[in-house]
C-alpha cells in the first residue's frame, strides 16, 4: 500500500479533529447570537421609529385634526380633505380592482388552456408586480389624465391604484382557488354542472376567505401609495370637499365626485414633511401614525379572516 496506517495526515488525527469540532460548534453558537442580535436590532429600530412617530404626532391627535382643512398655521391644520379623498379613492380602487382581479384569476385557474397565450398573461401578471409604482403614475398621467380626459380627478387616482394592486388580487385569488380540492370540482361536473356553475357554486364559496384577504392586502398597499398619485397631479392644498355622493334629490346618489380634484392621506403627509417649518413635522407625524394605523389594521383584519376561514373548512 502506498500510504501506511501510521502516515495519517495531521488533520485526521483525533486531537485536530476534536479542536476542529469544537471550533465549528463555537462558530455555530456565534452565528446564533449574530442572527438573533441582527433580527431584534432590525425589529427594535423599526419599533422605536414607529413609537417616535406616534409620540411626535400625539400633540395633534384630536377631533379637530380630522375635521379641519389644511392651514398655514400648523396647529390648525387637519386632514379632512385627505381622509375623505383617500376613502373615495379606495372605493373606486376596490370597485375596479376586485371584480377584474378575481375574474382574471378565475380565468387563469379554471378556464385557461395550457398554451403560449395563457403563458403571456401569466408572465404579464408576474412582471406587473415588479414595476415601480411611480411608473404606474406615468402610465396614468399619459393614459387616464390626458388620453381619457379624466383630468386630475378621484376617478383617475382610483383607476391608477386599481391597476397597481391588480397583480396582488390576482395572485391571492389564484392561490385560494388552487387550494380547493379537485374532488369537489369533479363531483359537481359528475352531476352535470357547467364550468361556470362549478366555479360559482363550489370553487368561489370555498375560496372567499383567500379572495377577501387578497383584496384587503391590496387595498392596504394602495392606501399608502404616494408616488403614483403625486405623478397624476394630486393637489396638496385643498380646502373643500369633493361633491357629496349622496344628494337630497332623486336618484339620491351622485357620481359627480368622481371628476373632482382631491388630496389623499400620504400626499398630505408628504406635503407637511417637506415643509421647512418644524411645527408641521408634528402634523406629518400625526398623519403618518394614522396612515400606519390604518394599514396595520387592514393587515390584521386580513390575517384574521384567513385564519377564520381556514378553521371553518374541513375537506
Amino acid at each position: 500500500m502506498a500510504t501506511l496506517p501510521n502516515a495519517v495526515p495531521e488533520y485526521l488525527k483525533p486531537d485536530s479533529i476534536r479542536t476542529g469540532l469544537s471550533r465549528r460548534k463555537m462558530l455555530d453558537q456565534v452565528f446564533v447570537i449574530v442572527g438573533l442580535v441582527l433580527m431584534f436590532a432590525c425589529l427594535g429600530i423599526l419599533a422605536i421609529l414607529f413609537m417616535n412617530l406616534v409620540m411626535d404626532g400625539s400633540e395633534r391627535f384630536g377631533w379637530d385634526f380630522f375635521t379641519n382643512f389644511p392651514s398655514r398655521r400648523a396647529e390648525r391644520a387637519g386632514i379632512l380633505g385627505a381622509w375623505v379623498g383617500t376613502s373615495l379613492i379606495m372605493l373606486v380602487t376596490a370597485f375596479c380592482a376586485v371584480p377584474v382581479g378575481v375574474a382574471a384569476a378565475i380565468y387563469l385557474e379554471e378556464y385557461a388552456p395550457k398554451n403560449w397565450f395563457t403563458a403571456i398573461i401569466e408572465i404579464n401578471v408576474t412582471n406587473l408586480a415588479g414595476v415601480p409604482s411611480i411608473v404606474y403614475g406615468l402610465l396614468a398621467l399619459g393614459l387616464f389624465v390626458y388620453q381619457f380626459g379624466l383630468g386630475q380627478s378621484i376617478a383617475a387616482a382610483g383607476l391608477t391604484l386599481a391597476l397597481l394592486i391588480l397583480p396582488i388580487v390576482i395572485v391571492a385569488t389564484r392561490e385560494s382557488i388552487r387550494a380547493v380540492p379537485k374532488s369537489i370540482r369533479e363531483a359537481a361536473y359528475g352531476l352535470g354542472a357547467t364550468r361556470w356553475e362549478v366555479t360559482k357554486d363550489h370553487v368561489l364559496p370555498y375560496s372567499t376567505g383567500g379572495i377577501l384577504t387578497g383584496m384587503i392586502l391590496g387595498l392596504s398597499r394602495a392606501i399608502g401609495e404616494t408616488a403614483p398619485i403625486i405623478t397624476i397631479g394630486a393637489l396638496s392644498f385643498i380646502a373643500f370637499l369633493p361633491s357629496s355622493p349622496v344628494t337630497s334629490e332623486f336618484p339620491f346618489i351622485s357620481f359627480a365626485w368622481l371628476k373632482d380634484p382631491f388630496t389623499a392621506m400620504p400626499i398630505q403627509m408628504f406635503n407637511w414633511v417637506s415643509r421647512p417649518d418644524q411645527a408641521f413635522q408634528a402634523n406629518a407625524a400625526a398623519a403618518g401614525a394614522i396612515l400606519l394605523g390604518m394599514t396595520l389594521l387592514m393587515n390584521a383584519v386580513a390575517i384574521w379572516i384567513r385564519y377564520r376561514f381556514r378553521k371553518k373548512i374541513n375537506w
Binding site: R24, K25, G35, N127, L139, W196, F270, V273
Partner: protein
C-alpha cells in the same frame, strides 16, 4: 300516449335549458378572458406611453446629450438634458440600501430557516410580512427626522439632505422583504439534504452555508432582485430625505436627486401637457424601467445558471 308527450316536453325543456346554460358559459368565459387581458393591456400601455412621450422628448434632445451630458436642468433657462446625474443618484442610494439589506436580510433568513424554533419563526414571519405593508412615505419621515439627525451627530459636516440617510432607510425597509422571501426559498430545500449533511457530521452553520444556501440560490437571487427593484423604484424616501437637486456624484454623503425624485419634483409643479419638462419625466421613467429590466435580466440568468434540481 300522454306520458310520451310529457317526456318529450320535458326533454325539450331540459335541452333548451342546457343550451341556455352553455351559451351563458361561453359569454362568462369571454368576460373572464377579457379581465385576464387587462394585465396584458396594462403592460402594453406602459410601454406605449413611455415610448411615445419619450420619442417626443428625443425630438428636442439628442440621444448623445442625454447619455453623456453631466448636467440635468430641464426646467432652467440654460437647459441641459444629461440623465447621468439622476442615474448616479439612483445607483448610489440603491447601493447603500443593498449594503444594508443583502447581508442583514440573508443572515436573518438563515437564522429563521435553520436555527430558530418553530414558535419564534411563526411569530417573526407575520411581523416581517406586516412590515412590508408600511407606507413608504412613513419611512421617508423616519429618514428625515430620525436617521439624518443621528448621522449628523456622527458626521457633523453631513448636509440635511443626503443619500446616505435615504439609502440606509431604504435598506432597513427592504430587510424584512428580503428576509421573508429568502426564508421561503430556504425552507423549500428538501429536508433529506439537510439530514444527509448532518449525518456527515456537519454543524447547523455548515449545513446552512454549504447545503441550504447553494440549494436555495435561485430563490435567494430572486429575493435580491426583488429587493433591488424596490430600491431602484423607491420614490418617497429619496424625495423626502435625499434632496431634489440633480448632482453628478457617487458619494452617498452628498445630496442628489434620483430618477424617481425628479419625476415627483416635476409632478408637484404645474407643467403644461406637451412641454419639454412634461416629456422629460417620461424619458426618465423609461430609463428607470430599463434599469429595472437590466437587473431583472441579470437575476434571471443567475437563477438559470445556478438552479439546483433535486
Amino acid at each position: 300516449m300522454v306520458s310520451t308527450a310529457a317526456t318529450k316536453s320535458n326533454d325539450l325543456v331540459l335541452r333548451s335549458g342546457l343550451r341556455y346554460r352553455k351559451i351563458r358559459d361561453r359569454i362568462i368565459e369571454t368576460l373572464l378572458l377579457a379581465a385576464g387581458l387587462v394585465a396584458v393591456f396594462t403592460t402594453l400601455a406602459i410601454v406605449v406611453i413611455l415610448l411615445s412621450e419619450s420619442s417626443a422628448f428625443f425630438e428636442h434632445v439628442s440621444l448623445k446629450d442625454f447619455l453623456t451630458d453631466t448636467m440635468w436642468t430641464p426646467l432652467f433657462a440654460d437647459a441641459h438634458y444629461g440623465i447621468l446625474p439622476l442615474v448616479a443618484g439612483t445607483l448610489t442610494t440603491t447601493m447603500v440600501a443593498l449594503v444594508v439589506a443583502v447581508p442583514v436580510g440573508t443572515i436573518i433568513a438563515i437564522y429563521l430557516s435553520e436555527f430558530a424554533s418553530h414558535r419564534l419563526r411563526e411569530t417573526v414571519k407575520p411581523i416581517l410580512e406586516l412590515l412590508g405593508a408600511v407606507p413608504t412615505v412613513v419611512y421617508g419621515y423616519f429618514a428625515l427626522t430620525a436617521v439624518t439627525p443621528l448621522l449628523q451627530k456622527l458626521m457633523p459636516e453631513l448636509p440635511g439632505f443626503n443619500m446616505l440617510s435615504a439609502g440606509l432607510v431604504i435598506g432597513l425597509m427592504i430587510v424584512p422583504y428580503v428576509a421573508s422571501v429568502s426564508e421561503d426559498a430556504m425552507r423549500s430545500v428538501p429536508r433529506y439534504m439537510r439530514e444527509g449533511s448532518y449525518a456527515m457530521g456537519a454543524t447547523r452553520l455548515q449545513t446552512a452555508l454549504r447545503v441550504v444556501v447553494p440549494g436555495a440560490f435561485s430563490g435567494l437571487a430572486a429575493a435580491f432582485i426583488l429587493g433591488i427593484s424596490r430600491a431602484v423604484g423607491e420614490t418617497m424616501v429619496v424625495a423626502i430625505a435625499a434632496g431634489m437637486q440633480p448632482n453628478f456624484t457617487f458619494d452617498p454623503r452628498e445630496q442628489a436627486a434620483t430618477i424617481t425624485a425628479y419625476i415627483v419634483q416635476v409632478s408637484l409643479g404645474d407643467l403644461p401637457h406637451g412641454s419639454i419638462g412634461y416629456q422629460s419625466i417620461f424619458a426618465a421613467g423609461l430609463v428607470l424601467m430599463l434599469i429595472t429590466l437590466i437587473f431583472n435580466v441579470i437575476g434571471f440568468s443567475l437563477t438559470r445558471k445556478f438552479r439546483e434540481a433535486y
